[in-house]
Amino acid sequence: MEDMYEVVKEYVIDEYVEDDSEVTLDTPLISGGIVDSFSMVSLKRFLENKYNISIPDDKATPEAFDSVNKICALVKECIG
C-alpha cells in the first residue's frame, strides 16, 4: 500500500511548490504561504478523490491543512 504521507507530500511538492524548496512532513503549508486558502480547495479535492472520502467543510480549516502530518491525520479521521 502506498505511504499516505509520501503521496500527500509528493502531491504538494508537484502542485504547489514553485522552486526547489524542501518540504518535510511538518513544513507549514498554509501559514508558510506554500498553499493559499483558494488552492486549499484543490488540495481538498485531491484528498477526497484519492482516498474516496468526504472532508466536511468545518474540518477543512487552514490549521488542519497546515502540514502533511496534519493533513494525513485528518484524512485518517475521515476514513474512520
Partner: protein
C-alpha cells in the same frame, strides 16, 4: 480625538489644499511619492522612528527605521539606474510580501520609473499578459518565482532585466538574470531623486473586466495628495499608532494604504508575510500591539468562522480602530467585530481606478451596519439612473454609483487602452460599475456589480480570462464562468464546461482542470466548482448566456429568455 473631527464641518470647508499644505506641496513643485514616504519623514526629525516591522512565516523579524527605508530605497533606485532603467520605464515588482517589495516600490518611484506590482501567486499566463501590455523593462522577483518568468521569457524580448533579490550563489543565473542582495549592497546616502511632477506616472495596477484583457490602471504622483489625507482621516492614523494593512501590494490597497498612505503619514506599520490562520493573526496583533487594523471582509468572515473562543486566547486590547475594504462588509461581520473586539469594522469603498477611498464610514460617525457610509469630503458621489445617467431625485432608488471626476488619485488612463478608459465617464460622471442606493441620511448601500466580473475575496476575476484559459485545456470544448455564493469569499468562480469528443467527465478531470487554471492564471481564478454539461445556454446568434447560469447559482429569476436558442 479622531483626525476627521466633524464630518459635516469637513465637507463644508473642504479643499484638497488641506492635504497639499500639510505635505508642504505647492502647485508646480516636483512631487515624488518615494521622497514623501521616506526622505521627507527623516527631514521632519523622525529618521530614527520605526517605519516597518516585518515578520515572516517562521516568526523571523526585520525592523526598518525611516532612515533605513530612505537608504534602502535609494540603494535599490541606484541599482536600477546602473542597469539603465530610467524615468517612465515600467518595473514590475513580483514578490511575496517581503521587505524588498515595499522598499523596492519606493526605489522605483524615486528614479521616476513606473512601479508595476503584480500578485506573486499569478501564474505564467497572467504574468505574461500584464508584462506584455506594459512592455515592462525589468522585473524584481524572488528565486521561487523565477521559474514562472523563465517559462515565458522567450516571448518577452522587451524584458531586459530579471533582478533576483535572494539568488542562490551556488546556482548559476540564466539569460538576463542579475542578482541583487539589498543587505549586502553598499548603502547610498546621497541620491538624486528624479524630479517627477503632479502628472508624472507612478504606479500601474492591473484590474480585470468582464471582457478583454486585464487593464493597466495608470496613476500619477499627485495621487499622494488623496492617499495621504484619506489615510489620515479614514484610517485615523496617529503618530503613536502601530498600523497593520493586511493587503498584498500586488493589489491597490497594498500600495495606496499598505505603502503610500502609511509611510507618507510617518507612522509605524507591520507586515505579516504568512498565510492565514486565526491564531497567527491574533498572535501577530498581540505581539506587535497593533492599534489600527485595515483588513478585508473575507479575512473577517474567516475569523468569524474560526469562532469566538480563539479570540479570548489573546490580548487584543491594543486595537483602537478597525476598517475593511475589498468587497461589501455584511452587517453580521460588523456586529460580530463589535462583540468580540469591542469595535466595529468600518467599511470603506473604493477601487483600483479611484486610487483612494471615496465612500466610507468614518470614526465619529454613526455606523449603520451593512452600509458603505458617506462620500469622503471633496468627493461628490451619487447614484444615477442606469439608462439616463441622471442622479435620482429621491432616496432609496437603486442605480449606478457615480462620482464627479477631479479628485487627485483618479486614474489617468488605462495603459494602451484609452478607448475603454473613456467609456468609464458618462454624462460628466465617473462610473465605477457598482450598483447602490442612498438612504435619506446620505448613506450608500451596496447592491452589486453592474457587470459579470467576479469579486472573490475582494479581488476581481474576469470570467472572460478564466473561460479563455479553460479553452486551452485539451478536454474543454466550451466554457462559461460565473460567480457562485460563498460565505467566506462572498463569491467564488464556478465553471460550466462541455467536453470535446473522446473525453469523459470524471473527478480526476475535474481536479486536473482546476489545477490547470490555477497554474496558468492564479489560485483566485481557479474554479472552485466545475460542472460538466452537455451544452451551454446560448442566444440564437451563438453568444453564451452567462446571465442564465448566474441566476441559477444565486437562486434568482432567470428573466427574459426569448433570445435563447432552441435545442
Amino acid at each position: 480625538m479622531a483626525h476627521i473631527g466633524s464630518y459635516d464641518e469637513r465637507v463644508k470647508n473642504f479643499d484638497w489644499k488641506i492635504s497639499e499644505n500639510e505635505l508642504g506641496y505647492k502647485e508646480g513643485d516636483p512631487i515624488n511619492i518615494g521622497w514623501y514616504c521616506s526622505d521627507r519623514i527623516c527631514e521632519m526629525g523622525k529618521a530614527d522612528k520605526l517605519a516597518l516591522i516585518w515578520e515572516g512565516s517562521t516568526g523571523n523579524e526585520k525592523r526598518y527605521t525611516y532612515n533605513d527605508i530612505r537608504l534602502a530605497s535609494n540603494t535599490i533606485g541606484d541599482f536600477l539606474r546602473s542597469l539603465g532603467i530610467k524615468n517612465e520605464d515600467r518595473v514590475c515588482l513580483f514578490m511575496d510580501k517581503i521587505p524588498e517589495l515595499y522598499l523596492g516600490f519606493l526605489g522605483v518611484l524615486k528614479i521616476g520609473a513606473i512601479a508595476q506590482p503584480l500578485f506573486s501567486a499569478f501564474g505564467d499566463e497572467s504574468l505574461f499578459i500584464r508584462l506584455e501590455n506594459a512592455q515592462t523593462r525589468a522585473i524584481i522577483t524572488q528565486r521561487k518565482h523565477v521559474p514562472k518568468v523563465r517559462k515565458i521569457l522567450e516571448k518577452m524580448p522587451w524584458l531586459e532585466h530579471i533582478i533576483v533579490v535572494d539568488a542562490d550563489p551556488s546556482k548559476p543565473l540564466q539569460e538576463r538574470e542579475v542578482a541583487f542582495c539589498l543587505e549586502e549592497a553598499s548603502k547610498i546616502d546621497n541620491f538624486e531623486i528624479f524630479p517627477t511632477y503632479a502628472e508624472s506616472p507612478s504606479v500601474l495596477h492591473y484590474t480585470s473586466g468582464t471582457t478583454g484583457q486585464p487593464k493597466g490602471v495608470k496613476h500619477v504622483h499627485y495621487s499622494l495628495i488623496a492617499q495621504y489625507l484619506t489615510t489620515k482621516w479614514v484610517l485615523d492614523l496617529h503618530n503613536d499608532d502601530i498600523y497593520w494593512c493586511t493587503a498584498d501590494p500586488g493589489w491597490v490597497t497594498g500600495t495606496s494604504y499598505g505603502i503610500i498612505g502609511a509611510f507618507s503619514n510617518g507612522v509605524t506599520q507591520c507586515v505579516f508575510d504568512a498565510g492565514f490562520s486565526a491564531d497567527n493573526w491574533y498572535r501577530f496583533i498581540e505581539k506587535h500591539k497593533v492599534s489600527v487594523w485595515y483588513s478585508a471582509p473575507t479575512a473577517i468572515r474567516s475569523l468569524m468562522k474560526a469562532g469566538d473562543e480563539v479570540v479570548k486566547k489573546y490580548d487584543l486590547s491594543s486595537l483602537r480602530h478597525l476598517a475593511s475594504v475589498g468587497e461589501p462588509l455584511n452587517s453580521e461581520a460588523v456586529i460580530w467585530s463589535e462583540k468580540v473586539f469591542g469595535k466595529p469594522f468600518l467599511d470603506t469603498y473604493w477601487q483600483t481606478e479611484t486610487g483612494c477611498i471615496v465612500i466610507t464610514n468614518f470614526p465619529n460617525m454613526k455606523i449603520k451596519p451593512g452600509s458603505m457610509g458617506k462620500a469622503f469630503p471633496g468627493i461628490t458621489a451619487t447614484v444615477v439612473d442606469t439608462k439616463t445617467f441622471e442622479p435620482f431625485g429621491e432616496s432609496g432608488k437603486i442605480g449606478l454609483i457615480a462620482i464627479k471626476p477631479g479628485w487627485p488619485s483618479l486614474m489617468r488612463t488605462y495603459w494602451n487602452n484609452e478607448e475603454t478608459y473613456k467609456k468609464k465617464f458618462v454624462n460628466g460622471w465617473y462610473i465605477p460599475g457598482d450598483r447602490s442606493s442612498i438612504d435619506n441620511e446620505g448613506y450608500f448601500w451596496f447592491v452589486g456589480r453592474d457587470d459579470d466580473v467576479i469579486n472573490t475575496g475582494g479581488h476581481l476575476v474576469s470570467p472572460f480570462e478564466v473561460e479563455s484559459a479553460l479553452l486551452e485545456h485539451e478536454a474543454v470544448a466550451e466554457s462559461a464562468v460565473v460567480s457562485k455564493p460563498d460565505f467566506v469569499n462572498m463569491e467564488v468562480v464556478k465553471a460550466f464546461v462541455t467536453l470535446k469528443p473522446g473525453f469523459t467527465a470524471s473527478k480526476e478531470l475535474d481536479l486536473q482542470i482546476m489545477n490547470f487554471v490555477r497554474k496558468k492564471l492564479s489560485p483566485l481564478a481557479m474554479p472552485q466548482e466545475i460542472e460538466f454539461v452537455e451544452s451551454l445556454p446560448k442566444t440564437r446568434s451563438g453568444k453564451i448566456m452567462r446571465r442564465i447560469l448566474h441566476s441559477k447559482e444565486w437562486g434568482k429569476e432567470v428573466g427574459d429568455i426569448s433570445t435563447l436558442e432552441d435545442d
